[in-house]
């Protein structure tokens, strides 16, 4: 199409329509649409209902896998857990992810501070009445120097890791009050009081579940439950729902990138190791591309080159005898 012809066509498309019209009752159409959709929604709801799996609790975790909960508590004290080594926006335990020279995660800094030692272990224990051995351990911990605390917790954490979490096989050593603190927290979790203690942190009103959710992720309980429900990211979990229900299928493209190399290989540098960041940037770019699609050469002319529009307007084309434009 020449520039002049393109301009004529654009002008024609922009002008008010002066060709044949047909009757159109917009109000009737709206009422019918709402009625039909309401009936469809009603039918699906009556026949299939909706998913609602109960949330996981610390009580459930400690009851079903006490050793894992105990070992996770020790890792929080030693500063080796996922949360403790996460970095921004929670702490300075790691550099976070990057996209080339852009360290956006690190640059925004710590905006939601989480100190795993105190927030996850010491404060919940302190805010509850504890048995004598736990109270004594707490006093010993609080009175010790930082280097001493770190030494106790790191030694015990390493010893547990060495026997792959099998607590009965951990050799005795200079672990200070750490075993008593971990046992105290495990007992608290088993009794059900840790869920509330972590949420309140000594306060009353609280609507932020960040600490509990991050703590959950440090152990295997949440991860195992996600695997069992087929929700892992590597298996399209982002767009899955619990049970046999449709999930967020509209996230298929976002989820797609996690299925292919290099994004699905965390040992691949720089992209796989920073997949979350690269995929976020990629999806941001693609979203912008969708919004600005009419400006993208090659894509904006696809509808003219692939004649699906001949099917959409086939009745009109046939009645008017309109042939496909060859220009």
């Amino acid at each position: 199409m020449t520039k002049a012809m393109h301009s004529d066509k654009e002008l024609f498309d922009a002008k008010p329509w002066h060709g044949k019209n047909r009757k159109y009752d917009i109000v009737k159409e709206g009422v019918i649409a709402v009625t039909v959709v309401s009936l469809l929604v009603l039918s699906f709801s009556l026949f299939f209902g909706s998913p609602d799996e109960k949330p996981l609790t610390f009580k459930g975790w400690a009851a079903s896998n006490s050793d894992n909960f105990y070992a996770t508590a020790v890792s929080e004290l030693a500063g080796t857990s996922g949360t403790a080594t996460y970095g921004a926006p929670y702490n300075k335990g790691g550099d976070g992810l990057n996209v080339g020279p852009l360290w956006l995660q690190k640059w925004v800094g710590v905006t939601h501070p989480i100190d795993t030692v105190n927030d996850f272990v010491v404060t919940p224990l302190t805010n509850s009445v504890q048995p004598a051995e736990v109270a004594t351990a707490l006093t010993q911990w609080k009175g010790a120097a930082e280097a001493q605390k770190s030494s106790w917790a790191t030694k015990y954490d390493s010893a547990i890791a060495k026997v792959e979490g099998k607590l009965s096989a951990v050799p005795s050593g200079d672990y200070g009050p750490v075993p008593a603190l971990a046992k105290g927290l495990t007992d608290m979790a088993k009794s059900g009081s840790l869920d509330a203690a972590l949420l309140s942190q000594g306060g009353f009103f609280q609507t932020d579940a960040t600490k509990q959710i991050l703590y959950f992720g440090d152990g295997s309980y949440l991860d195992d439950a996600g695997t069992a429900a087929n929700l892992q990211g590597g298996t399209w979990g982002m767009m899955n729902e619990t049970g046999r229900y449709p999930g967020q299928a509209w996230l298929w493209l976002y989820s797609f990138w996690y299925q292919i190399p290099p994004f699905n290989n965390e040992n691949s540098h720089p992209i796989g190791a920073n997949a979350d960041a690269y995929i976020m940037v990629l999806m941001g770019g693609l979203s912008l591309g969708l919004i600005l699609m009419p400006l993208i050469p090659g894509i904006r002319t696809l509808p003219m080159r692939i004649p699906i529009h001949r099917a959409i307007w086939r009745n009109y084309y046939r009645s008017e005898g309109i042939k496909r434009r060859k220009d």
């Binding site: 004529d8 654009e10 024609f12 498309d13 922009a14 002008k15 008010p16 329509w17 002066h18 060709g19 019209n21 047909r22 009757k23 159109y24 917009i26 159409e29 709206g30 709402v34 039909v36 309401s38 469809l40 929604v41 699906f44 709801s45 299939f48 909706s50 998913p51 609602d52 799996e53 949330p55 996981l56 996460y86 921004a88 956006l104 905006t111 609507t207 932020d208 960040t210 959710i213 992720g217 949440l222 996600g226 929700l231 990211g233 619990t242 509209w250 979350d276 995929i279 976020m280 969708l290 919004i291 696809l302 509808p303 699906i308 529009h309 307007w313 009745n315 009109y316 009645s319 008017e320």
Partner: protein, 212 residues
Amino acid sequence: MSKMWTARLREGWQRNLPIEKLIPDAQPAYVASWIYVFGVLTLAAFSVIIASGLVLAFAGPAWYHTSSFGLFVNSLHFWSVQLFFVFMVIHLWGKFWMAAWRGRRMLTWVTGSVAFVASIATAFTGYLIQTNFDSQWIAFEAKDGFNSVGVGAVFTVTNLGQMLLLHVAFLPLILGVITLVHVLMVRKRGVVPPIDADESNTFENFSGALND
């Protein structure tokens, strides 16, 4: 033109979007395909989402865990969202293959696609406030993506209170306004003519004719 802001607004509205355009009783003859139904179906699903969402919002986020009627309303909300996206995606693809941005309709396309992206954000926050296992899992997994580009500092998916308010107040308001502008743009510009049509398919001196 009057110097009064109110009068200028009214005159501008009447000039650009007279009532005959806003609530038409005739459409161009080419608007005769099932693909055109999906725009209004998307709006219809949106209205069911809002209605069921209002009931859920009134009763609070944990109500549907303990009430069978609450679970039913939650189901209405859940399925209307599923249908909303099905209709909207079909509508979007239809408009792409029509090259519906032609004839100064760029803003119509932009508002429509922004509404699509805003809908994804709104639905996402809905999944985060279910206060069940699914929302625990999604919050834990999704935080990494947002944190990795620094967005997590202001959009905290693990913060139930923030997600709740975004989902029931902020995002629906934004989505509603964008959708309103989109629909008004459709009414102002009209439905895009067929790709292969040109002046020879019109009769300039016979405007507004009803042929059937």
